[in-house]
């Protein structure tokens, strides 16, 4: 079940409740009208968990099902192997940096199937794509597995031939950008050509085979300069290539590509998934100092790229979905500030919340007992746990105590064992 705890999320909560109630007669919202009874669904799954789901010799913590479109609640807590091609396409950048060396060390890439991912997958399966794109918001404590869930969902959508537009970590835009120029298109905005080009190249590598087969065309003419023009009816891939070649125009090309994708999605030509990690960073102050006053900083809303991403996050298009993450790491946090919270309303702030509302908040909790044991089973299977005490029940209790069953912390604790 979605865990809607705060009354502040009232508006988004309504949307959610309507979706989860078995009889939704008062569905006055524009959001998906599919009536999914999660209680029943999960109850069935919980009553029929997969026992020893794989062939002999493999640990109980794994499942043989490598196709995420087949994942259900029965696979909860189990690790599934992600094919190298899938990693290359959808998970090259989005996961926590500590995970990639593990993939290399274990000689395989496995992700855990977790409940928040399953919930969103069920929603996506049942959603009506003639209605505006649903915004899903993953929230949770630092290290609870939001980015991993996002990666799983990207794999899920990608395996069903959706176009995935991925921003691995939104705060990069407002912290580490190398090149910033004032926008030629709109005054007062800041362009980041290199970052826009990176987004375009990421779009290409993520969706390369798909874009070629879909053969999407532009809906209008774009005039970049006296000699450079993109005609109406030109291939979308050509537009993207143009942006990659002429990095100067990359931010505006990005805007054009987004507009085109929205139109194609709305026409039903393609399904689009917008995946943004750390979306609350888009309403934060940047680290870039203003020229006129050295004490003032630009706001993220003044960045062109951010404005383009906001276009994607509006609910004025159909035929797709947005999955975002709100993260404490994306904000400017005071040291030892006791007043921080990982709740979406707090992290997004008033403006962010007003923009993104209504959305479906999905809580990504720390590991449950079953998941935590499954995680350690996997580590033991892959010989990550080397200390003899780590193989005992008492050792596990110790690890769970020290990490409070937070996924990232459990990994950090386990590296000493």
């Amino acid at each position: 079940m979605f865990s809607i705890v705060r009354p502040v999320l009232r508006r988004s909560a309504c949307a959610c409740r309507l979706i989860t109630s078995s009889s939704s007669n008062n569905s006055s919202t524009e959001q998906g009208s599919g009536t999914i009874n999660f209680n029943e669904l999960f109850q069935k799954g919980i009553e029929n968990p997969i026992r020893n789901p794989v062939k002999k010799g493999l640990a109980v913590c794994r499942t043989n099902q490598t196709d995420p479109s087949q994942h259900t609640i029965r696979h909860e807590g189990l690790y599934y192997r992600v094919a190298p091609e899938a990693i290359q396409r959808w998970m090259k950048e989005g996961l926590h940096p500590d995970i990639y060396p593990l993939f290399r060390a274990f000689n395989e890439s496995c992700l855990m199937v977790r409940r928040p991912a399953i919930e969103i997958m069920e929603c996506m399966r049942a959603a009506d794509y003639s209605l505006p794109a649903i915004r899903y918001m993953l929230y949770g404590r630092a290290g609870s597995g939001k980015s991993s869930t996002l990666a799983h969902l990207m794999h899920f959508c990608g395996s069903q031939d959706w176009v995935i537009t991925h921003v691995p970590w939104a705060p990069v835009l407002h912290r580490y950008s190398k090149e910033r120029v004032p926008s030629t298109f709109k005054e007062g905005r800041i362009d980041q050509p290199a970052d826009a080009a990176k987004w375009l190249s990421r779009l290409m590598t993520t969706n390369d085979p798909l874009l070629k087969t879909l053969n999407l065309k532009t809906h209008r003419k774009y005039i970049w300069s006296r000699r450079e023009v993109t005609e109406e009816g030109d291939a979308l891939t050509e537009l993207i290539d143009f942006g990659l070649q002429r990095v100067k125009y990359a931010p505006d090309v990005m805007g054009a590509v987004i507009r085109e994708l929205k139109l194609h999605a709305s026409s039903g030509n393609v399904k689009v998934l917008v995946a943004i990690d750390g979306v609350n960073g888009m309403w934060e102050q940047t680290r870039y100092i203003r020229e006129e006053s050295r004490h003032k900083f630009f706001h993220a809303q003044e960045l062109t790229i951010v404005q383009h991403l906001m276009e994607f996050l509006k609910n004025d298009w159909t035929g797709g979905a947005s999955v975002c993450t709100v993260d404490e790491g994306a904000t400017i946090k005071e040291m030892n500030d006791p007043l921080t919270s990982y709740m979406p309303r707090f992290l997004l702030g008033q403006k962010g919340f007003d923009f993104l509302d209504p959305f479906i908040p999905v809580h990504v909790p720390d590991y449950s007992d079953k998941e935590a044991n499954s995680c350690l089973d996997y580590y033991t299977d892959r010989k990550w746990i080397q200390h003899p005490a780590g193989l005992t029940e008492a050792g596990r209790t110790e690890m769970f105590f020290l990490s409070c069953k937070n996924p990232l912390e459990l990994y950090k604790v386990s590296r000493r064992w």
Binding site: R141, E398, F401, S403, C404, E409
Partner: protein
């Protein structure tokens, strides 16, 4: 000689005068305090003086007090010889009669222990291991203490020989036979860590037992409730352990007493900690999470205090 005797008499008379003044003063004090003058003990006097004459002086020795003249006025030896000059004590001409008498007595004791041991060996008996004096539990009186006891100044060599002789006695297999004699010259040690002040079990409405304890380290203070029949759930200042202590070092500190006493995953902890930095907060929790757990596991009652975490204020 006469002058000496007169001085001795004068001292005795002086002491008697002081004692009678003390007694009268004690009765007056009892009247002031509204207590029974006949049953007014030294402790009552101390409390009364502290109440009537409060002092903020740091050194406790400098504060006003009223003690018995014997405790205040230094002892003088009683007259050692009579009018004719004949000494009372057999060993008077050794110049340190008390000391040498003690040494002679000790040798006598040692010899009698040896004889007893021989008899036991002939009978085929063995020394009683249970009654054996635990040498580690006490230490010899220091040189000043022995001098105070004997009322005689000793040289270093004399003190050494005293210690050596008595060590021979105490190390004898059946030294327990002369325990009273030996223990007069030993000071019993009692480690602070062994004085258990384990808080009592309180029962809540549901009948679940818990204990409350406080701990401190540097400038941090911790207040903890430890619930029995738990599952290892820890709440600090209303949040998770991970939120309160992002550092692994601190979490290990908090876990340390639970791991040591095998109560990890068996108790629930609800704690409030304030003041200081993260490391001292963890140390405060460690110290007082330590004490309550011991009463739940009687065989380990002794051990947790072994690792009491001191909060020596300036050196901690």
């Amino acid at each position: 000689m006469r002058a000496y005797l007169e001085r001795a008499k004068a001292h005795d008379a002086f002491m008697q005068g002081e004692i009678s003044e003390y007694e009268i003063g004690k009765r007056h004090l009892a009247n002031i305090m509204g207590a029974d003058p006949d049953n007014f003990s030294q402790e009552d006097i101390d409390k009364a003086v502290e109440y009537l004459l409060p002092s903020g002086l740091f050194d406790k020795e400098a504060r006003p007090k009223m003690k018995h003249p014997h405790d205040v006025i230094p002892k003088r030896k009683a007259a050692e010889f009579d009018v004719d000059g004949r000494p009372f004590h057999t060993y008077f001409y050794t110049a340190k009669p008390q000391f040498f008498k003690l040494m002679h007595d000790a040798v006598f004791v040692l010899e009698s222990l040896k004889k007893e041991e021989d008899k036991m060996l002939r009978r085929g008996e063995e020394a009683n291991a249970d009654k054996k004096i635990i040498i580690g539990a006490s230490v010899w009186l220091t040189k000043p203490a022995v001098e105070e006891k004997l009322q005689e100044k000793l040289s270093d060599e004399e003190y050494d020989s005293f210690i050596r002789l008595f060590t021979r006695i105490i190390e004898h297999p059946i030294s327990y036979a002369e325990e009273t004699f030996i223990m007069q010259y030993r000071r019993v040690l009692s480690a602070e860590s062994m004085i258990s002040s384990i808080p009592e079990l309180i029962y809540d409405e549901a009948g679940r037992p818990y204990q409350e304890a406080e701990g401190a380290r540097k400038t941090s203070k911790a207040y903890v409730k430890i619930w029995s029949q738990g599952s290892g759930h820890v709440t600090v200042n209303g949040t998770d352990l991970l939120d309160c202590f992002p550092e692994i070092l601190d979490r290990e500190q908090v876990m340390s007493p639970l791991h040591f006493t095998n109560t990890l995953g068996r108790v629930d902890i609800e704690a409030r900690v304030e003041g200081g930095g993260h490391s001292s907060r963890a140390g405060a929790l460690r110290e007082e999470a330590l004490s309550p757990t011991s009463s739940e596991i009687p065989p380990l009652r002794v051990s947790p205090r072994i690792i009491k975490n001191n909060n020596v204020s300036f050196f901690g």
